[in-house]
């Protein structure tokens, strides 16, 4: 069955994101040479920030967009770098960008807790213009993201435990 975007009218075109099991997305992140986790202010809800920190501690650098950085600081975690989502997307599509650590760009971007519609626009920008070299984009958020290469299906907030379990499965592969 064709998944439905979380914002139902968000049908970009013929290439729509593929639904994937958490372990598949986890494996994709684990196999990337330079993965990046992009998080937004929604990680400040439902304990998502704790999952992000676990991912960070597994060696995946974190770009903290919106005001999510405040959550990391309050948690005493210094492995996240603040950057606006628009600015970050602009950097990510530039193969010459030095990256958050000065070591260069990223070959995979995973998103979590970014406002659905701005995240979708960020993903579609990368999908269309971060192509040489290709930046693979995956979503580990609770939404079906048609502009990600791999994504979960929509997970209702009333099923938060299912979402948390999915994140744990992703983390287990890192």
């Amino acid at each position: 069955m064709q998944p439905i975007p979380f914002d139902i009218g968000n049908i970009p075109g013929p290439e729509m994101g593929r639904l994937a099991e958490p372990y598949v997305i986890g494996n994709a992140i684990a196999s990337a040479k330079r993965p990046l986790l992009v998080v937004g202010a929604d990680i400040l809800e439902d304990g998502l920030i704790d999952k992000a920190i676990v991912i960070g501690k597994k060696g995946v650098p974190i770009a903290a967009t919106a005001h999510s950085i405040k959550g990391f600081i309050e948690k005493g975690y210094d492995g996240a770098v603040y950057m606006g989502l628009h600015e970050l997307a602009n950097f990510l599509k530039d193969p010459e960008w030095a990256g958050l650590d000065g070591e260069g760009g990223y070959d995979l971007v995973a998103v979590l807790g970014v406002k659905y519609y701005s995240c979708s626009q960020m993903l579609i920008s990368l999908k269309n213009f971060a192509t040489e070299p290709l930046v693979r984009i995956v979503s580990i958020d609770r939404y079906y993201h048609p502009n990600a290469r791999l994504t979960f299906d929509n997970i209702s907030r009333k099923n938060n435990d299912i979402f948390m379990k999915a994140l744990d499965e992703v983390i287990a592969r890192l």
Binding site: G13, T65, S125
Partner: protein
């Protein structure tokens, strides 16, 4: 004879001679030397646009990867592919932006043209354009773009003719097989943005002078809010942007002594302009309140003019049994045109229900019909109840299956409607009430609910105590900034000691409710920025009150000065924000305006610390507004829905070469700090936007006391909202005098330890580190033609 000056001539003894008189040149038309770009065509300011885009490169985020414009298609452009016509994805996005700007610009300029026709008819073509002694530069954009100094109403005909030709030419460029480069489409979008600002200026000036709308800081405060309408009185609801029909209604009410016994309330910009005409009129609210207020059933007559009206307004009006009067040929809803029928006949047909609504295109007749109609409809409608009863609410929320499958994914905000319904069914309506302000009032949820729940009505019922209590004060739009005000603030603005102008404008598609715009305005007015507002943003700011029960408009003065908040008026009044920046260049810096757009834009970009905030930008008009603001050198922050406009202009602080400017004194080149770093960008949350606004108010020309003030706010706001100093703050430090006094030592230690700067601790001086030293005499420019002496 080359020119025939205005005055008298006599030609004797001439017979059978045909004399052709071309343009009559008034002596006063030589008021200022004409600059290089009067009435620029599509390519006229292309060089300036390209300079902007060398630094602020267009960034694209497609909203759709298909092109469906011609029968070659549909074409799949995914991955920046070309369509059958040869156009790539990036250029297609830019083309879409141009089309959005065409729509927006046409709306403002069509509005201006419509009003000019009406006002010339009502007041005469020779009605003077005169703002009185406080304003000499009566039409800064008109002077700047067209080189025309308007003296009477009809002088604006030439201005609108110029705009209309340009709009047609740019529209032409969007046809299949025309423009092929994204960057040239962007230049056209800038062009439309400039035309949009010009059209808005025409619209607001002509309504301002003809209706003698109030000017200056001492304009009245008016009642605003969903709860401000007296339910005991007949109520006329006006929606849209073109105020002329509303003025006719008010005139009739005044004539009949009914102004105090009939409520006239407005939604959207007509509300703002109606209250400029009569302070007894009320502002119901911004666009997000439209459907909900209509559903409240309070309106006895609904009068619509143009723009931002719900397309289903007739259906909504029928549902509450209120007649609809369409007053503008751009929005007639299939209704019968009764313009030429007697008023009494029209009233009879509407009261009897023979007609659900009518078109009346003559404002005077609108004035004759609507007040009487409201009184009669009130009698007929007084027992109509459209708000749900407690029992109905319970029944409806109990029928919700909490499936989350339809309403949530139909909602533009993704609001958890099912969860709130479930709570309401269990007796707790608070979650539904909390959604009320986050809801943008579109009604998409209702169309997909399998249970047929009228979700907008349900939410409104749950929020009824909040709705009834929504009574506040909004300051009436004050029109242009006075020349005298510019004289007072010109120096502190350019030097930076007034830290900036924050212009909160635009629609109500907020990511998190209206409170964000209040928070943004409050933060900056308290910090002594000049906060300017217009449109829906101006209204929504008023919805929140401080601990003393005062809105920001009640608490802070309405001058154009630091620590003040001024509402310039409706969308078209946005032109006065451009106008204020232009006047800083003209009055403070004595720059010539006439046909001199790029020099003034260059001045503003380098010197006037202003930042536009369109937090709820939704419409095509917002696209053209932002493009106009950008072309004149002012950055704009949009809310997260703004990503859907497909394009941003983003700078790169990691590329110093992008920040090279000239010193116009000698033509030397220097690299400056990235100020402002971006020209158009979206922020996801207000907490992210607030420090960003402070950052985007920095300019290369800030002197050290000014930069110090701006840095104080940038650092404070970053700490407050992000919990840390921003990573880029050292970039803006040119010497120790730029550092905030209270944090000077702490920051110098950070510069030394973390960034390797050399500090002389005895003298508390920075010895090495900054990319450049502060230079109060720097004459920063991006335009080579402004260099006075070329460097050898």
């Amino acid at each position: 004879m080359d020119e025939l000056n205005l005055g008298g001539i006599s030609l004797k003894d001439l017979e059978n001679v045909r004399i052709n008189i071309g343009e009559v040149i008034d002596e006063e038309d030589e008021w200022e030397e004409m600059g290089p770009h009067p009435k620029p065509g599509i390519a006229g300011l292309r060089d300036w646009d390209f300079k902007l885009m060398e630094r602020y490169k267009p960034f694209y985020a497609p909203y759709c990867e298909m092109c469906c414009f011609c029968t070659f298609g549909k074409c799949d452009l995914t991955g920046n592919k070309k369509g059958a016509c040869g156009l790539r994805m990036d250029a297609q996005q830019a083309r879409f932006v141009v089309i959005a700007c065409l729509i927006g610009c046409s709306a403002h300029c069509g509005h201006a043209r419509h009003m000019l026709h009406d006002l010339e008819e009502m007041f005469g073509k020779d009605y003077p354009i005169d703002f009185g002694p406080s304003i000499e530069i009566e039409a800064p954009l008109t002077r700047l773009v067209t080189g025309i100094k308007p003296k009477v109403l009809s002088d604006f005909e030439e201005v609108l003719e110029y705009i209309e030709e340009q709009v047609v030419q740019v529209m032409d460029s969007t046809h299949t097989g025309q423009e092929g480069a994204a960057i040239d489409y962007e230049s056209k979008a800038f062009h439309l943005g400039m035309l949009d600002s010009l059209g808005k200026e025409v619209a607001d000036i002509i309504q301002q002078v003809c209706f003698k709308l109030p000017i200056g800081a001492d304009v009245p405060l008016v009642d605003m809010g969903l709860g401000c309408i007296d339910p005991e009185k007949p109520m006329i609801l006006v929606i849209g942007h073109n105020v002329i029909p509303s003025t006719a209604i008010i005139d009739d009410l005044r004539e009949k002594g009914l102004e105090d016994s009939v409520e006239i309330g407005g939604i959207c910009c007509t509300a703002l302009d109606t209250t400029r005409y009569s302070a007894k009129a009320k502002i119901v609210g911004s666009i997000g309140r439209q459907l909900r207020f209509i559903r409240s059933g309070m309106a006895d007559v609904i009068v619509v003019d143009e723009q931002c009206i719900r397309a289903d307004v007739l259906e909504q009006a029928i549902n509450i049994k209120a007649p609809l009067i369409a007053t503008n040929d751009k929005a007639m809803y299939g209704l019968q045109d009764r313009t030429n029928d007697p008023a009494e006949e029209i009233i009879d047909d509407l009261v009897s229900g023979k007609a659900d609504g009518v078109v009346i295109l003559d404002p005077e007749k609108v004035g004759k019909v609507v007040p009487k109609l409201a009184l009669l409809m009130r009698e007929k409608r007084k027992d109509i109840v459209t708000i749900l009863s407690d029992e109905e609410l319970f029944e409806l929320v109990s029928s919700c299956m909490s499936c989350d499958a339809n309403c949530v994914i139909a909602c533009p905000q993704g609001l958890p409607i099912g969860k709130a319904n479930k709570a309401a069914a269990a007796g707790d309506t608070q979650p539904l009430l909390e959604l009320f302000d986050q809801c943008v009032g579109c009604g998409r949820c209702e169309q997909v609910c399998k249970q047929g729940i009228p979700i907008v009505d349900v939410m409104q019922k749950a929020a009824l105590p909040y709705v009834k209590a929504e009574k506040t004060k909004c300051r009436v739009g004050r029109g242009p900034v006075l020349d005298t005000e510019i004289r007072n603030v010109g120096a502190p603005l350019v030097l930076g000691t007034i830290p900036g102008i924050v212009a909160i404008v635009g629609c109500g598609n907020y990511p998190n409710g209206t409170e964000d715009v209040y928070k943004i305005a409050k933060e900056f007015v308290e910090r002594k920025y000049i906060v300017v507002t217009s449109g829906c943003g101006a209204m929504d700011i008023a919805l929140y009150k401080d601990e003393d029960g005062k809105s920001l408009y009640e608490k802070y003065p309405g001058d154009f000065d630091g620590g003040c908040i001024l509402n310039v008026g409706s969308c078209v009044s946005n032109a006065h924000i451009h106008g204020a920046a232009i006047k800083v260049a003209a009055i403070f810096a004595k720059r010539k305006l006439r046909g001199n757009y790029d020099e003034i834009a260059d001045y503003i970009l380098n010197r006037v610390g202003a930042c536009g905030v369109a937090w709820g930008a939704m419409s095509q008009k917002a696209a053209s507004i932002a493009s106009g603001v950008n072309r004149i050198g002012i950055p704009v922050i949009i809310g997260p829905h703004g990503w859907k406009y497909r394009r941003a202009y983003l700078g790169r602080k990691d590329k110093p070469e992008d920040w090279e400017i000239f010193d116009a004194r000698d033509g030397s080149r220097l690299i400056t700090e990235p100020a402002p770093e971006h020209l158009l960008m979206a922020c996801d949350t207000a907490e992210e936007a607030i420090p960003e606004i402070a950052r985007l108010c920095m300019r290369p020309a800030d002197n050290s006391p000014g930069r110090q003030v701006k840095m104080t706010h940038y650092l404070d706001l970053s700490m407050k909202y992000l919990g840390k100093y921003p990573d880029d703050w050292p970039v803006f430090i040119r010497g120790e005098a730029d550092l905030p006094l209270a944090k000077k030592e702490e920051l110098m230690k950070i510069l030394e330890k973390d960034f390797g700067w050399k500090i002389d601790w005895d003298k508390k001086k920075i010895l090495e580190g900054p990319m450049r030293k502060p230079d109060v005499s720097l004459d920063a420019t991006n335009l080579e033609r402004l260099i006075r002496t070329k460097e050898e």
